[in-house]
């Protein structure tokens, strides 16, 4: 089926049959997507390409100051897309980073799409690796691939995908290239057709590893079926007040239940 279609994938008739841009109409969604990434990687452009909205894009970091939402219909499923503010990390305490992190953790996105700048892989990986610790439903959108080529960079996206354990789709959202492939990957992760095996950051020293595994055991015992126990443990060890609070009032528990009930539907 996929082979048959690939011939006409560039045909607009084919595309319109699969992607329907819904603009700001995000009622009755089946899946929630979060759009995360470093500043100035073209997140808003990807957002616009998917939703058909024309959120203002600009070539300077920090352009998106409010959380933007939009929707699209793909393969008869309705997706709600949330454009998060661009951040370099999720570890410090700026408002932007907290908005992004809390949404990925507590906003229960079904898939988190990480937009990476293909010309700055190493720096962008810092954020990507952190998000990989929090959630295991991820698609990496390797944007600005045309610019990388212009800068004589060759990127092995299949190897990158293997290293990260998640789908990696090269795109040039400005030219609407790779959007179909991106949609397909999102669809597969959202529907459980692709199971991500996210890369885990090396845990450093022996005492740290011991401390983490000790905590993870307790956390998994308290919050059954939790997928990011290791990350929670690390945050607790660092004394992150928001996470401590979430453990205290059982918010994490509710999260897992909610996710499951969505899956059941």
């Amino acid at each position: 089926m996929a082979n048959k279609l690939s011939n006409c994938e560039t045909c607009p008739v084919h595309q319109s049959a699969y992607l329907k841009k819904l603009g700001v109409n995000t009622d009755n969604w089946d899946y929630v997507l979060a759009l995360a990434g470093n500043p100035n990687t073209g997140k808003s452009t990807v957002f616009n390409a998917l939703t058909g909205l024309r959120q203002h894009t600009g070539n300077w970091p920090g352009k998106t100051v409010t959380r933007a939402e939009g929707g699209f219909l793909y393969q008869e499923k309705r997706y709600k897309l949330v454009d998060l503010p661009g951040t370099y990390s999720l570890l410090s305490t700026s408002t932007d980073e907290e908005v992004a992190r809390n949404f990925i953790l507590f906003g229960k996105p079904d898939v988190t799409v990480i937009v990476m700048d293909a010309t700055r892989i190493e720096r962008n990986l810092n954020l990507t690796l952190q998000i990989l610790e929090i959630t295991d439903r991820i698609v990496v959108c390797l944007n600005l691939i045309d610019e990388a080529h212009r800068h004589q960079l060759s990127i092995d996206e299949r190897k990158l995908s293997k290293e990260l354990g998640v789908p990696v789709i090269p795109t040039s959202a400005r030219r609407s290239e790779g959007i179909q492939e991106l949609l397909k990957a999102i669809h597969e992760v959202a529907n459980g057709l692709y199971i991500c095996k996210p890369h885990r950051i090396a845990s450093g020293s022996k005492p740290l590893r011991r401390a983490v595994s000790h905590l993870v055991e307790k956390i998994e015992n308290r919050f059954k079926g939790i997928s990011n126990a290791r990350w929670i443990a690390l945050r607790l060890l660092e004394g992150d007040p928001r996470i401590i609070e979430a453990v205290k009032d059982g918010e994490l528990d509710k999260l897992e239940q909610n996710l499951k009930s969505i899956e059941a539907v």
């Binding site: 100035n40 024309r54 300077w60 690796l129 610019e147 092995d156 290293e163 400005r174 020293s205 308290r222």
Partner: protein, 486 residues
Amino acid sequence: MKNHTESIKQQEQKISDDILDTANSLRWELGENLHDSLLESIYQDAAKISEKVVTKVDAKPRYDWDKTLDRLLTSRWTGFPIMLLMLTAVFWITISGANVPSALLASLLIEIIHPILKDAALTIGLPLWLNGLMIDGVYLSMAWVISVMLPPMAIFFPLFTLLEDFGYLPRVAFNLDSFFKKAGAHGKQALTMAMGYGCNAAGIIATRVIDSPRERLIAIITNNFSLCNGRWPTQILIASLFIGSLVPAALGGLVSAGAVVFVALLGVALTFITSWFLSRTILKGEASAFSLELPPYRPPKILQTLYTSLIDRTIFVLWRAIIFAVPAGAVIWLSANLMIGDMSIGEHIINFLGPFGLLLGLNGVILFAYIIAIPANEIVIPTILMLTVMTLNVSSVGEGAGVIFELDDYRTYTELFSAGGWTLLTAINLMLFSLIHNPCSTTIYTIYKETKSIKWTAISTFLPIMMGLTICFFIAQLWRLFFGTG
């Protein structure tokens, strides 16, 4: 059952507390460098992976445009002249390009459609007062705002957006950063200041990019010193009439353009001075450090930019201006047509304001016009014209009491203004007052929405108007001291 869930809850709470206690004691054992060691392992992994997947194609290194451009645009010697040139070019294209379409729109909306509407109103037998209020008041003020505002905005916003898409704005911020830092403000204020040249309300919203509340407030309060779209027409008209006419005709255009640029630069200077003042008084604090990444230059997508800047910015701002111009049009018409004794309300107010105006080197008409025109700076000049005609009882120009109109000929303006007692001092102070007065009501409302504070909204409103009144007063006194008249 209830007991059962209750006990589960208690048990869960116990485990949660146990988790937190364990984490607490482990934290002490591990020491304080956990954060750093975590960061380190993230960096290590990122470097490892990136090394595996990225290869630099061994081709002849291409000429690096980005670096060359950056060297030119952000250098100490060339950065500022280029910035000034760019801004002047943008304004020059806006000013000269907007003339023709503005005139076309004005003749369509005012000379052709207005009489048709008047006739139609007569035919359907609309009462005379309603006819005047709706068509001479509301419709004409709307028509004026559209014809004066739409063309310059439709040129300015796309030009600005193109520069933004290209990646020039972060370089401007980079150039101005040290100045803002010295003033105790945030370097990103350069970006919000630039947005303010289009529209102050848009500039205020743009201050969201500044994290620190202190620096954001400074950016909000001083944004008004960015001469907005609605004030450019006032500057250009008055400069052409009074300043350009001081020199031979051949130089007139250049000199009046220079005067406008001077006022704009004065606005920049006031931004720095006020920021400096605020950060040493009511908004005390050090400038926070920030890292501004200079993004790569990208060829702007011209058609898309045109579309988005037209829809997002131009139509949005225009629509807002129309909404505010409608009631203002009605107020102007009413103030000219409702009588107390043998004078209209408007004339009473102007006579009352006259002495204050004179003290400030302005006049009663201008002050009253600024009160009526709080909703939108765009309607200041038409209001001044209408009020001047009304007080002079000139019957040869204009179309009747309370009717906003536009004069086609500069000479007619000059005659009208000199009959109204205008001097060079009036003109200069009007240009200054247009720069330094309260923000329009939309901007005030936006400030309130953004700060959620009546106090800061009031400060943003009254600080500039007090400054404007003070500056105008001193200039008027000095002028009269040195030149005797005025």
